[in-house]
Amino acid sequence: MRLLPCGDRALLAEFGELEQALGAYSRWSTSAPAGIIEFVPAARTVLVRLDPAVMGLGAAEQWLLAHPPLQPGALPSAGLVALPLVYDGDDLTIVSEIWGCSRDAVGDLHGATEWVCAFIGFAPGFSYLVPTAGSVLPPVPRRATSRPQVPAGAVGLAAEYCGIYPRASPGGWQVIGRTPAVMWDADRAFPALVTPGTRVRFEAVRA
């Protein structure tokens, strides 16, 4: 872990692997002392936002160093969410070519994978999912041009990630299908259906 400066009220913890960032987020977010406003997990980093009136940068650094990340095998078992998925996306053919398989096999491979939410970004409730057991699926490049409108519930792939559009928005991920699950509803007690650490399984359903 490297601690990088981030102005006068934050530190950025950087890790070599996504699993370590997840392990740090998992450990820190369940034991944060007063003065840490929040942890923002991302692909290789966890941003640590401080209330400088309560905790200074030096004290925060000491606390972080005294609380090393959990090992990947020791991550607590977070909730599992099963999402119905219709594999009929416009980019199924492109993904099947990249994976060297049939269109049907894309759904089989994707659906046989258990995913975990590494972080949320891009839009409220847009979760970046990665395979729990290390990636066996070849990474998928983004579309050369973004679509101006991707519908809510669209399930897409980009790099090693799988993402679900929580609402209609522009987007450049390769869309393989759609889920009727409501990923984000600000009026719910828990607005995001999936949060960092949540495991996700997709269940193929017919249109």
Partner: protein, 298 residues
């Protein structure tokens, strides 16, 4: 319930409070008043708690129908504001002064002469529905109350516990027209940039771009170059802050505002310090900006 009615929103008028500070894990930025000092001052002047919701008005032009008995004040950007009474009498409004509307009247904000964003606070606060504990409009995420439109009725909350403080004119200077100095400290990717880029960062008189909003304030000036081995390298998305100075691939800096994306993939060379953040809200297009390396306790 008492309500004020929007007659004209001007270019952009938003409901803001102090935001939703701890939902980045869900992909939601803090948002909230851009000029937080102006927001807190406005609320204190009318006896509201600091976090009551108020109107953040860009570039003036706002017109509100005020019911009798309403206390209000204007802070932040200065504009020629008047209260127009039913009989056509126009009463000039001093900034930073609580004022009571005795008989129904129309509040009119003229063009702003200093700064960019005015805060209009009303006693009781705006009691519009909240989202994730805040009434702030997040313009990027599309969360919270929609931008004000003519015809909107804004309900006022109950009378606060504390009275309208007895205060003479509060000695607050208007936002400056000249060079604005912002303190910065190193960002996580400061070492992606050349020594020349670091010199340019703090020695340039930057110009505030017209392409600035609550998501970010863009600064026009020389391009800041990456170290040769990092040109074209993609950074995995990482957490962003209000005040993070992102450098886009063309070398241009953007200082992130309250509605910034939660994560971003452009390297952050430096971060504007807490004490300078409110100044960002009042930067007018074309206004010069200097970035000063801030020191401080660790």
């Amino acid at each position: 319930m008492t309500a004020v009615r929007v007659i004209d929103s001007g270019p952009l008028a938003l409901v803001q409070d102090l935001g939703r500070p701890a939902f980045a894990t869900l992909g939601v930025s803090a948002s909230g008043a851009f000029d937080r000092a102006a927001h807190r001052l406005a609320n204190r002047l009318v006896g509201n708690p600091d976090d009551a919701a108020a109107v953040e008005c860009l570039l003036g032009g706002l017109r509100l129908a005020m019911p009798p008995g309403t206390w209000f004040t204007i802070t932040g950007a200065w504009s020629d504001a008047v209260l127009v009474l039913d009989d056509g009498v126009r009463r000039a409004i001093e900034p930073h002064t609580a004022m009571r509307v005795d008989a129904a009247a129309e509040l009119q904000l003229g063009q702003v002469s200093h700064g960019l964003r005015s805060t209009v606070a009303l006693r009781g606060g705006l009691a519009v529905p909240s989202v994730l504990g805040s009434r702030s409009r997040d313009t990027l995420a599309g969360l919270g109350p929609a931008p004000l439109r003519a015809g909107d009725a804004l309900p006022l909350g109950p009378e606060p516990a504390s009275p309208v403080p007895v205060a003479d004119l509060v000695p607050v200077d208007p936002p400056t027209e000249g060079v604005v100095e912002l303190g910065v400290r190193p960002g996580p990717r400061h070492d992606w940039f050349t020594a020349a880029a670091h010199r340019l960062l703090t020695e340039t008189e930057w110009i505030t771009s017209a392409r600035s909003d609550r998501t970010g304030v863009r600064l026009d000036g020389p391009a800041l170059s990456r170290e040769p081995e990092l040109v074209g390298v993609e950074l995995a998305s990482e957490g962003m802050l209000r005040g993070s100075i992102q450098i886009s691939p063309d070398g241009a800096p953007t200082v992130l505002g309250p509605d910034h994306p939660v994560t971003g993939g452009y390297p952050v060379i430096a971060v504007v310090v807490e004490d300078s953040l409110d100044l960002l809200a009042q930067l007018r297009p074309g206004q010069p900006v200097r970035l000063r390396r801030a020191t401080g306790r660790r």
